[in-house]
């Protein structure tokens, strides 16, 4: 059916990707985005005349031109985007720092292997075998068996510290569950970081979003910003129409949503029960952005991304207070190739945070808590970049509350619900979930999810 009316809830990465696919092949697509700027968790805003990116450390899955069978070239061709449009600059290298041990990795996995050979005698061949196992694992199947990443790591690596260090970046970049990771998600994320690699669009996330929106519009898609979907009218197991916050009612044949599974189901007109608390994701973050008058390398921070953890065990759980500064991720955009001429230095630091401690604060308390935790996180980062705080021109902090406010994610759960819907289906015949709650986290993951769901439920079917 060429004349199908498709409504997509949210102009997140996955919504835009699904929109491009469907519009390109002749569907009438309308993306409805609550916020005035598209991009969702990965967006940007203006502050004191500077453009600040939200949620962009690095784009995973980077492979150089010429490597064909990989997710990045696949998604570019599926979206009919030219690689140049994203202007991706590879990282120089990144680091995993645990007490007394640092491992570097770059977009050539041999650097990781060589550091592992030096630091963990006898483990490198084991890590190579783990890598082969991960690469051979078919993570694209719909019907994967559940499995524990920790258990697989124990089978392959006999040095627990190494296993914890490998888990650290992989969980930060792709795990919606506390403590352990579903093996299929581990495999996807491990490949995306270690076997492929990290990069950054030269002009930040705006570049990405701009390219996607342009492509979407060129394919005939329509985008409505600043108006949310308020309700899905459900009759007989199908969505019959959507009602917007502006009051407008639109008929539709198909609905895709990147707003999250529970967040979307709450919009259904036939729902009375709120979701059970245990089903909702709890993992959220704060992120501090510091703008410096010189590059971070001047303070010894010369890695693109540093994943740190202060104990030998990597806990990865919702903290028991507002923020857990004992582990986190630090990213320096200046440390990607072709970024030498950025006018200012930037350090972005992220740590796990607990939504409930931020949600209930009054305005003044909230402002105070932001200042306090920005300070505490900076103190932590200072151990990696001594003296940087005297050179801060501006800083900002966003919190679980910011994530909730700008994306509607319950609990500010940036990784979504712990249980993923692998096929994107819901109890309604014509409502599909894409993005974070379908299973793939991260920019590339979300884009692939949108493509995959559009193909599976619409294009391959017709």
């Amino acid at each position: 059916m060429v004349d199908e009316q498709v409504v997509i809830i949210g102009a997140g990465m996955s919504g835009l990707a699904a929109g491009i696919r469907l519009a390109h092949f002749g569907k009438h697509v309308l993306i409805v985005e609550k916020h005035r700027i598209p991009g969702g968790l990965n967006s940007y805003y203006w502050r004191n005349g500077r453009r600040m990116d939200v949620g962009l450390h690095a784009v995973t899955n980077y492979v150089p031109v010429g490597r064909k069978q990989a997710p990045l070239p696949k998604l570019l061709s599926q979206l009919r985007l030219a690689r140049e449009e994203l202007d991706l600059c590879p990282q120089r290298w990144s680091e995993i720092r645990f007490p007394g041990c640092t491992l570097r990795f770059s977009n050539d996995i041999e650097l990781l292997f060589s550091d592992v050979r030096d630091r963990f005698p006898g483990q490198v061949d084991r890590l190579r075998r783990l890598t082969q196992h991960v690469e051979a694992f078919d993570d694209k199947r719909l019907d994967v068996e559940p499995g524990s990443a920790r258990q697989v790591l124990r089978e392959y690596l006999s040095e627990p510290l190494l296993a914890e260090m490998i888990l650290c970046p992989v969980m930060y970049y792709g795990c919606a569950r506390e403590h352990d990771m579903e093996f299929v998600h581990f495999a996807t994320t491990y490949k995306s970081i270690f076997c492929e690699g990290l990069a950054r669009p030269r002009d930040g996330v705006q570049r990405f979003i701009g390219a996607l929106v342009k492509r979407y519009k060129a394919a005939g898609g329509q985008l409505r910003l600043g108006d949310g979907v308020a309700r899905l009218d459900v009759h007989g197991g199908r969505v019959r129409g959507v009602r917007l916050e502006s009051g407008e009612e639109l008929p539709c044949d198909l609905v895709f949503s990147c707003a999250g599974y529970y967040e979307t189901m709450r919009l259904c007109s036939d729902v009375k029960e709120p979701p059970a608390a245990a089903d909702l994701g709890r993992l959220s973050v704060i992120e501090a952005i510091s703008i410096l008058d010189r590059p971070p390398a001047d303070f010894g921070l010369d890695a693109a991304v540093v994943f740190f953890n202060d104990a030998e065990q990597f806990p990865y759980a919702c903290p028991s207070g507002p923020v857990e500064t004992g582990s986190g991720v630090i990213c320096c955009p200046n440390n990607f190739e072709r970024h030498e001429d950025l006018p200012e230095g930037v350090i972005r630091s992220t740590a796990l945070a607990r939504y409930e401690d931020w949600a209930g604060l009054g305005d003044e308390e909230y402002a105070r808590a932001k200042r306090e935790w920005c300070e505490r996180l900076s103190t932590r980062v200072e151990s990696f970049a001594p003296g940087f705080r005297e050179h801060v021109l501006d800083s900002d902090l966003f919190t679980p509350r910011t994530i909730h406010r700008f994306t509607g994610r319950l609990n500010g759960a940036l990784y979504g619900a712990p249980q993923k819907l692998r096929d994107g289906r819901t109890r309604l015949d014509n409502l599909f979930i894409c993005g974070t709650d379908q299973g793939l986290v991260g920019i590339v993951g979300a884009l692939l999810s949108g493509i995959w769901m559009a193909n599976l439920h619409v294009l391959a079917r017709s």
């Binding site: 092949f25 031109v65 064909k68 069978q69 696949k74 570019l76 061709s77």
Partner: protein, 84 residues
């Protein structure tokens, strides 16, 4: 429409779907998948582009007929008649 023209139409679509593929010496009789590392996603796109550009419907059971350039030409030839 001549065979060369149909061949070119198919190659044009492949270059859109798999821009990294080397199309400089595709052999007519050898399955495209073997020569060009096309996967099922690419195949879906070839079918979808044929529909979008030339309004040709290729039902699932006919996908094997698109396996090689030669079989594409044979299969699409009659359907492309009428397109300049």
């Amino acid at each position: 429409m001549g065979e060369q023209r149909i061949r070119q139409i198919v190659l044009d679509i492949i270059s859109l779907v798999a821009p990294d593929a080397d199309l400089s010496n595709v052999r007519d009789e050898v399955p495209l998948r073997e020569q060009l590392e096309l996967d099922s996603m690419d195949f879906l796109d070839i079918v979808m582009e044929l529909r979008k550009r030339y309004r040709i419907e290729v039902p699932k059971e006919d996908y094997p007929k698109l396996a090689s350039l030669a079989s594409c030409v044979a299969y699409l030839g009659p359907q492309l008649q009428g397109h300049a």
